[in-house]
């Protein structure tokens, strides 16, 4: 009689600065699948993890923003390639998190991969679409171009565990921002898998920092953090009181705020350019023209 093999369980960790630490607090929480069955313990990020992630994101920002747009596009495309390679794992994670059929989960994964490819292509085009020469009334060269705003806090959607996540992360980083992302609380596992993909896709450590945990708990720390330049509070969609409180906190250093919709949107729709431009600054440069 063959001895049954004991499964090696995975410990789900945070992703900060390119490493996979446990939560500084030592806390974790139980993750259940769509039918309520225990799946795993996920790290429960604390305010100090938020703090560390912001430090990592800030440190990574100049280098990432300083990459050529072509290079950032290549790296986003690389993420898509690696995701495609690990498609079955993502399908399983999404189905486990969101329920439904394997085919439905597969379509979510496909959309997520395609979304990354779509954004990857924007990397070296957005400045041409969002920037321009300005014909000022004088002997001056005058040019406006978009630049990344800096460190962006993202509260990822609660329902769409992978497509929604990719749809809020890709537009932030493709333009050169770095980000601290709080994943869906009840559906964090696709996010953790996504972090593992990021770690193996040439994305510099600290560009994307993924925290599993409670948006309502972590959001205020991100929103009030004075070294965060912008925040997307999509993850509290439908909770106007929390969204309002976050926006009020964000005003402390005049963060750019992408407000929460009344309900989670249909993530399969083609995104608007504002998903990227909301986290960009227009910089205008003047120079005299003379001999």
């Amino acid at each position: 009689m063959a001895a049954s093999r004991l499964e090696v369980r995975k410990t789900y960790k945070l992703y900060i600065g390119g490493a996979f630490p446990r939560s500084e607090s030592g806390h974790s929480y139980e993750v259940h699948d769509s039918k309520g069955k225990f799946v795993a313990n996920a790290a429960k990020a604390s305010r100090k993890d938020v703090r560390d992630a912001v430090v990592a994101a800030r440190k990574a920002f100049p280098g990432w923003a300083g990459r050529t747009a072509y290079n950032r596009g290549q790296i986003l495309y690389r993420i898509a390639e690696v995701m495609e390679d690990r498609r079955p794992q993502f399908v399983q994670a999404v189905q486990q998190s969101e329920g439904g059929s394997a085919a439905q989960a597969g379509r979510q994964v496909d959309e997520a991969i395609d979304r990354l490819v779509w954004y990857a292509g924007w990397a070296d085009k957005l400045a041409q679409v969002a920037g321009n020469a300005n014909p000022v009334a004088g002997p001056f060269f005058n040019h406006s171009a978009p630049e990344p705003t800096g460190v962006v806090g993202v509260l990822a959607p609660q329902s769409s565990s992978l497509l929604g996540l990719v749809s809020v992360v890709a537009p932030v980083v493709v333009t050169g921002n770095t980000t601290v992302v709080v994943s869906s609380y009840s559906r964090p596992l696709p996010a953790v898998t996504f972090a593992e993909v990021l770690a193996t896709s040439d994305v510099p450590g600290g560009v994307v920092n993924l925290l599993t945990g409670d948006a309502a708990t972590l959001g205020p720390w991100l929103a009030a953090h004075m070294d965060v330049n912008a925040i997307d509070v999509t993850g509290v969609a439908g909770d106007l009181d929390t969204a309002t409180a976050l926006e009020v906190a964000a005003a402390d250093n005049l963060k750019r705020v992408r407000r929460a919709p009344a309900a989670e949107p249909d993530w399969t729709a083609v995104p608007a350019l504002t998903t990227m431009t909301d986290f960009l600054e227009t910089k205008t440069v003047w120079h005299p023209i003379g001999v």
Binding site: G138, P139, F140, P288, I289, G290, V291
Partner: protein, 327 residues
């Protein structure tokens, strides 16, 4: 260039002896001068041009401008009769008003110096253009002979042109040595020398960077005045070109203790324009340059407009050209 050291007495200038020691060092020095941004320089000149000079300030400025005019005729058709008339005009610009100041000088070709001198004596200076004016294209000995002739004929001031071709070709030391040689040719037997004005023909130098370099080159070579133009090339004097030259003489005095004069010439036709130049002198170099010793206008028609404005100030009504002499 040892000639420099021997002709310059200021200790301040001595510090620059190395600069003119070789073509390479002179080039390094001139190209190491701060650049001039065209747009910024022109904007500054235009802004100074918006100063509003009224009443007592205007009366002062008009008389000052008249006293700074180098009344000029530089035509092939110039005759002794023509320049004598001009000399009389320079002496008494407004015969009906003895309070009207004389012009600073009469500026003519070298061969007519004697005719002017006969009229003005020592009361108004005589300036002669020299060194194959206006193109500057002749052998050095011809240019020097041209200069000596004018000095011998009694010229108080020599307005020489630089060799723009040599300057634009980057042969700065050649230009420098030519100025030094002409300065030497300005020397009189008694040891004094005719004042040397060096004309750049800024319209041909094209850039303000070149104007700044030419200014320093000429000042290091011993010019007494730097002058914009011959009047034969457009554009001639402009406010921004003069601004750059005023900045150069200001900086040169600060660096060496030596004061150099500035003469915009050509294209300044109205009293309004002349006052803009005076405002510029006042605010760029300061009042030390606000005398005919340090600032001149090379002009012909300007004088009558100054006189008309002067009369308007005195009488309160606008005058007309029929009331001023046409010489």
């Amino acid at each position: 260039m040892s000639a420099t050291a021997s002709t310059q007495s200021s200790e301040g200038l001595g510090a620059y002896a190395d600069v003119t020691a070789s073509e390479a060092s002179l080039r390094r020095f001139l190209h190491g001068l701060p650049g001039v941004d065209q747009v910024g320089a022109e904007a500054r000149a235009a802004a100074l041009g918006t100063r509003s000079i009224k009443t007592t300030a205007k009366a002062y400025a008009l008389d000052l401008a008249i006293s700074m005019v180098d009344l000029t005729t530089l035509e092939g058709q110039d005759t002794p009769g023509k320049v004598r008339a001009l000399a009389n005009k320079a002496l008494r610009p407004d015969p009906s008003d003895p309070s009207c100041p004389s012009a600073a000088a009469v500026c003519v070709y070298g061969d007519l110096v004697g005719d002017v001198k006969e009229i003005v004596g020592d009361r108004v200076n005589v300036a002669a253009v020299a060194t194959a004016f206006p193109s500057g294209r002749a052998a050095l000995d011809v240019k020097l002979a041209d200069t000596r002739d004018a000095v011998e004929a009694g010229a108080d001031e020599i307005d020489m042109v630089i060799d723009r071709g040599a300057f634009l070709a980057g042969h700065y030391l050649q230009v420098f040595e030519e100025i030094v040689a002409v300065k030497e040719a300005c020397r009189r037997p008694d040891g004094s020398h005719a004042h040397l004005k060096v004309i750049f023909e800024t319209g041909e130098l094209q850039t303000y960077d070149n104007v700044r370099r030419a200014s320093w080159l000429a000042m290091l070579a011993g010019s007494d005045f730097i002058k914009t133009s011959t009047g034969k090339v457009q554009p001639a004097a402009t406010l921004p070109v003069t601004l750059v030259m005023l900045e150069a003489v200001r900086d040169f005095r600060e660096a060496t203790g030596v004061q150099i004069g500035v003469k915009p010439a050509g294209g300044i036709r109205t009293a309004k324009d002349a006052i803009k130049y005076l405002v510029m002198v006042n605010e760029i170099t300061g009042p030390d340059w606000l005398t005919p010793d340090w600032f001149r206008f090379g002009a012909s028609t300007l004088l009558n407009d100054l006189l008309m404005q002067r009369t308007k100030m005195a009488t309160g009504r606008y005058s007309g050209p029929d009331y001023f002499t046409l010489d």
